[in-house]
């Protein structure tokens, strides 16, 4: 299977995480600081989103907090799932799924590619330049038997 060798793929994952994290943080920050949760909640209510107050807090929290966690690569699988749910919701209530592809016409391309990025993070993890990797490596060092299992698994993944 053609794939980039290990150091390069880790750098690619890092750059990808930085880009995705910045985009999510920007949206979360906009909701929290620029518009404010109250205005965001009012906007959500206008779009017919149920429980707009809770939804606004959820979206803000997932985008801002999740974006920061993606940047540093911590709790990646959980953040990936929450981000995907958030984007599915955005697609449903903002009408993206039925608006065609192009975002200029209200389509789903942006939420679609954000979900794709989150899906890749869920499937492959954040790469080696991440806190998750650091924590996993530290824990494995304490379990000499488990370490060998993981090395074998890694060899299998790479072959």
């Amino acid at each position: 299977m053609p794939q980039l060798p290990a150091p390069t793929s880790d750098i690619a994952s890092l750059v990808a995480r930085l880009l995705l994290g910045i985009v999510l943080v920007a949206h979360g920050w906009q909701k929290l600081a620029e518009k404010g949760i109250a205005a965001t909640s009012a906007g959500f209510a206008g779009m017919g989103i149920p429980a707009p107050g809770a939804a606004a807090v959820f979206a803000t929290f997932v985008e801002l907090g999740g974006g920061v966690l993606i940047l540093v690569g911590l709790a990646t699988p959980y953040v990936a799932v929450l981000t995907t749910l958030n984007m599915i919701g955005a697609g449903l209530f903002a009408g993206h799924w039925t608006g065609g592809v192009f975002v200029a016409k209200g389509g789903w391309e942006l939420v679609g590619v954000i979900i794709t990025g989150a899906l890749m993070l869920l499937a492959f993890g954040p790469g080696r330049v991440s806190i998750d990797h650091l924590l996993a490596a530290r824990r494995r060092a304490k379990e000499p038997v488990g370490r060998h299992v993981r090395v074998e698994e890694r060899v299998r993944v790479l072959s």
Binding site: Q3, T116, S130
Partner: protein, 155 residues
């Protein structure tokens, strides 16, 4: 609590995720390629590139149109994935430089978030490969089979 961080999904789930991701990004890129190739046509696409003062508009418009139109099909099929990702990456950086990077992040301000997140997907696909459900994987298996048979015949 034993939370298993940074653990990739098991192989079958990874391959399904890659297939889904490739199809989503492929459809997005195909829509843009289709628009440039058949809805607007290369001529009007070139004019659009000229008004954005993109250099060598006819060349760059043709390059972008062909890579988006044909590259997206290859991306969905999983053929020549690394090369397709690299070529699309060039387009995304070009779109960023000539249109989006100066406008902040948000799409509402013509910012770079869409080209940025498309780049995210391309980086991941290049990093991990197209997965098992792909032409690249089929080709690799046939090559391995050929090599084994050749080794057997010559030994």
């Amino acid at each position: 609590m034993n939370l298993e961080f940074n653990r990739p999904l098991p192989a079958p789930a990874r391959d399904v995720a890659l297939l889904v991701g490739r199809v989503v990004l492929g459809v997005v890129m195909f829509a843009h390629g289709y628009q440039k190739m058949l809805v607007n046509g290369i001529g009007r696409t070139t004019e659009g590139f000229e008004t954005l003062s993109i250099p060598l508009a006819i060349v760059s418009a043709s390059f972008v149109t062909v890579v988006e139109f044909a590259g997206s099909v290859l991306l969905i099929l999983g053929g020549l994935t690394t090369i397709v990702c690299a070529l699309m990456g060039v387009i995304m950086v070009g779109a960023g430089v000539f249109v989006h990077y100066g406008n902040g992040i948000f799409l509402a301000d013509k910012g770079w978030e869409l080209v940025g997140v498309i780049t995210v997907c391309l980086l991941f696909f290049a990093a991990v490969g197209p997965g098992r459900f792909s032409l690249d994987h089929v080709v690799r298996r046939l090559q391995d089979k050929d090599r084994r048979e050749l080794e057997l015949a010559t030994s």
